[in-house]
Symmetry: C2
Subunit: 207 residues, 2 copies
DNA sequence: GCCACTATTCAACGCATGATGACTTCTGCG
DNA sequence: CGCAGAAGTCATCATGCGTTGAATAGTGGC
């Protein structure tokens, strides 16, 4: 009995571990999940460390401060330009549907969904996160889309698209109101795509 | 100097205050503001107490627990039925615009906006608040509106309206993306009303 | 095989939080 | 008046947080 130290996870002996484990990466993955689940304030360094099977001090060793963990964890798991490129390429009449399809494909996968969830959850209580969200909307949505539209109020229109998509993500994946939450992707696309299309290209009744 | 106790706010002598001040009401108002500004987790009993000019223990004296302060503070400052009644009364072709106008009028006023902000902010990190939000959407939006619509997927459609309105509130009043945040009410109404109208009454392309 | 460096844990500090219980002062009823 | 109870404060507790500094164990270059 006494020769078996019985350390399941906590109580691992101090000092470097043998081999070359990607501990930093595991911490980042855990952080992403925790921030997505609880938001910036709700997630704790200790919780992240536990989820990564690691001492809390190690998180500080790698990232210094909680804020820095957050910005490191918010690196998107794909390149926004790749994905918005597919939306703006093609006829303008189909942009709404392509945007809707992009949305459900990104939000349908928990891994790609996580950073957005984390960002939105955190933005509500934290100016830093709100700024990051604003910058994402500007850089990854507004700029590319605005370059292919001509209407004078195109920025407004694109942001209305963003507002519909943010609200949809919230209602469907966070608040989970039924029957919206369990509606099929195709059904949601069919309902939302024309809205986006209208925001993007329809002309308004004059003032 | 010694005869002037110099107690600005903290340090008020213990014991009941003379007169009949509505301290409970002041605490509730402070709580509403704090929850709206910081969400459930971000708001603190101490912060609420300070804003109300009162000892933190008094908050517990009146409400017992933080959760109970929250549900007490979330009583809406108007009767939902009064306000949705105006939306469903009238021609169905104008419902979208009436709903959009209701939205900007509720969200345009900080007092009426506060509970919604608090609810949405809190729902993102707290199952209790999420449930309250769900119930509000069901009771104050879905039920009344569903009673005047006939489409088989009308619940879905109404929830899409809700998702658009939630997203709009977030984008405009919390994240404050520009130019959406400073666009005129009329401009926003003109852009959003047709979306709501379409969700409510337009028929979809068949599957 | 030594040695600088990195990876890792441990123990602790200081602070803020939600909650509790004892104590004091005012109000209103009999 | 006398007294029960409501209104109010104070000191305090336990908990959990972010962060720090010291100590230990493995790695890679010479």
């Amino acid at each position: 009995m006494s020769s078996q130290p019985l350390r399941s996870r906590r109580g691992r002996p101090p000092g470097r571990r043998p081999g070359a484990p990607d501990t930093r990466g595991e911490i980042l993955a855990a952080a992403r999940a925790q921030f997505a689940a609880h938001g910036y304030d709700g997630a704790t360094i200790r919780g992240i460390a536990t989820a990564a099977g690691v001492d809390p001090a190690l998180v500080h060793h790698y990232f210094g401060t909680k804020e820095r963990v957050f910005v490191a964890a918010m690196e998107l798991p794909f390149v926004p330009a790749d994905v918005t490129g597919a939306v703006i390429a093609g006829d303008q009449g189909g942009m709404g549907e392509r945007l809707a399809r992009l949305f459900v494909s990104v939000w349908g996968n928990p891994v790609t969904r996580a950073p957005f969830l984390a960002l939105i959850r955190s933005a509500l209580g934290h100016e830093m996160a709100a700024t990051m969200l604003r910058q994402f909307v500007r850089g990854a949505l507004l700029s590319p889309l605005a370059s292919v539209l001509t209407a004078p109020d195109r920025e407004l229109r694109i942001e209305l698209c963003a507002s519909q998509l943010i609200g949809l993500g919230l209602a469907r994946y966070v608040i989970r109101i039924e029957p919206l939450a369990s509606a099929s992707d195709e059904e949601v696309i069919a309902l939302v795509a024309p809205t986006l299309q209208r925001y993007l290209t329809a002309h308004l009744p004059g003032p």
